[in-house]
């Protein structure tokens, strides 16, 4: 009996240690990624990188100013329609929705979230690029914006659901109409969660590359207006990384660093500021 118990204790110790190793490995990977990126990206980073256009293929030097601006434009337009639609949809689910219809919307939104982003790219290609017969910022924004909608719907809904009924009833009891109650009481009360959701939403699509590959495509120069193909940070990282030039590899690291920094900072700030007290 003593031997068996010793064995069981040993198993206890070994198995739990293994689980600790698993956790450490996973956490370690993130620090590894950050470390490498900081190192390689940091050493290739420069003011030129931020302000110059790419040089002709094969020539060293140059920067990715157009990609940074391009990403900004894409995100701006995508958010311009993705966020409001998603936000209002979330308001519907939380404030107006009927049982079955809401369930269907919620379920479909979650499914849509899981659709690979490259399929969204095909969608935007079919709707915008084919009729226009060329790539454009507009097409890229459509792909990204459509991805933003389901995320915004769910995060807005969840944020609004945390607002207690009592608050709303207070306003209604004073004679406020339903939409006024929502706009002046519920939404402000939930604003932290809503904003967090929006920030995370933008950060999520900021890093998307696949849907841009055949919608916004790429551009070695500035892309004025919305009708022309445009460079974007993620696509540049990709193009430069798979190229044959060392100088481009270095620039890919720098671009990756910029991209990752923006995404991580947005995530950390958003999650920390939205401290719900008891995290799970």
């Amino acid at each position: 009996m003593g031997l068996r118990n010793t064995w069981r204790k040993l198993v206890n110790l070994v198995m739990f240690s293994l689980t600790g190793v698993c956790a450490l490995v996973t956490v370690g990977v993130l620090f590894f990624i950050l470390g490498y990126l900081l190192w390689y990206g940091g050493t290739s980073f420069s003011w030129t990188f931020l302000t110059h256009l790419p040089t002709p293929v094969g020539e060293p030097g140059g920067g990715m100013a157009n990609a940074i601006v391009g990403s900004a434009k894409l995100l701006f337009l995508a958010s311009a329609f993705g966020i409001p639609i998603g936000f209002l949809g979330g308001v519907y689910l939380a404030e107006f929705g009927g049982q079955t219809f809401s369930f269907v919307i919620r379920y479909t939104a979650d499914l849509l979230n899981g659709v690979p982003s490259i399929v969204m790219g095909i969608f935007a290609f079919a709707i915008v690029v084919l009729p226009m017969k060329h790539f454009s910022t507009l097409a890229g924004s459509l792909a990204l914006g459509v991805m933003m909608i389901p995320i915004a719907v769910r995060s807005t809904e969840e944020a609004l659901r945390t607002v207690p009924l009592m608050l709303r009833e207070g306003a209604l009891a004073l004679g406020a109409s339903k939409w006024k109650t929502i706009a002046t009481v519920a939404v402000p009360a939930a604003r932290k969660g809503i904003i967090t959701g929006i920030v995370l939403d933008i950060a999520r699509v900021a890093g998307e590359t696949a849907p841009l590959l055949f919608t916004a495509f790429s551009n070695r120069f500035w892309s004025p207006g919305w009708n022309q193909p445009t460079a974007s940070l993620p696509v540049m990282v990709y193009t430069y990384a798979i190229s044959a030039y060392d100088d481009w590899h270095r620039q890919a690291w720098a671009a990756g660093l910029v991209l990752l920094s923006l995404v991580l900072v947005a995530n950390v700030v958003a999650r920390l500021s939205f401290s719900r007290g008891s995290t799970r």
């Binding site: 009996m1 068996r4 118990n5 069981r8 204790k9």
Partner: protein, 252 residues
């Protein structure tokens, strides 16, 4: 009370949840193969005390017990907790069968502690279920999920599960509080029937239950053991005023 009749000898037991003291200088002798009931108002420490007897409090990070508990003259607080819990079993307030079949629930303790052999295992499971007066009701559905049973049946299953490993002591923490009167009566019958097979300590907020079932009763109040004696004495001629006040319903 002859010395070798004492199963658990508690002296000077203090218990702390972090900085807060929950039990004060508890001293009591639990006799072998008798049923001892612990009564008292909510939050008086009776459950806390029960859980020191199988060191279940060790799952909480800041809980600690100081003092002495002798289990057959062994230092309970220093023993290997895993070995201790094989000898001191526990039944909880709400039935908590595992998400397994009825058979596997009973067999769990046996398998984990090594009494593993095929046909012998089956025999042990049957024996436990018979002891819990559950065998006839479940013998044809041993491989069905335990959740298919009613609340009362699930609790008897949990008792059978605890009995399967032949514990010397069985701790019951308000085992009937989630059950209807009929299920309660069946369980009390069960406890009677296994009286001479193991020592039982039962926490109950139902005084009538204590009066029905227990040989000895202890009255807890605000973390102290106010009085401990034969059940008859506690209920008919309590020595302390607080005991009398509680029994007669003046508080609690």
């Amino acid at each position: 009370m002859a010395a070798d009749d004492v199963k658990l000898r508690v002296s000077g037991l203090d218990f702390f949840y972090g900085p807060k003291q929950a039990l004060f200088d508890i001293g009591v002798q639990i006799l072998t193969n008798r049923i001892t009931a612990l009564i008292g108002p909510s939050g008086c420490g009776k459950s806390t005390f029960l859980r020191t007897l199988n060191r279940m409090y060790e799952t909480l990070p800041h809980a600690r017990a100081e003092g002495e508990i002798l289990f057959d003259n062994e230092d309970l607080l220093a023993m290997d907790p895993v070995a201790l819990r094989r000898r001191v079993g526990m039944v909880f307030q709400r039935p908590n069968p595992f998400p397994k079949s009825i058979f596997d629930n009973i067999a769990y303790g046996l398998r984990v502690n090594g009494t593993y052999r095929g046909a012998a295992l089956h025999e042990k499971v049957e024996k436990s279920l018979r002891r819990a007066a559950l065998w006839d009701e479940v013998k044809d559905s041993l491989h069905k999920s335990a959740y298919a049973l009613s609340g009362g049946q699930q609790q008897r299953l949990c008792i059978a599960r605890a009995l399967a490993v032949d514990p010397e002591v069985l701790l019951l923490d308000e085992p009937c509080s989630a059950l209807d009167p009929i299920a309660t009566a069946k369980i009390e019958e069960l406890l009677f029937s296994i009286q001479d097979q193991c020592t039982q300590v039962i926490v109950t907020h139902n005084m009538q239950q204590a009066a029905r079932v227990a040989d000895f009763t202890g009255f807890f109040l605000l973390g102290k053991l106010i009085e401990f004696n034969k059940t008859e004495v506690i209920f008919k001629t309590p020595a302390k005023k607080e005991t009398e006040d509680y029994i007669t319903g003046r508080f609690g």
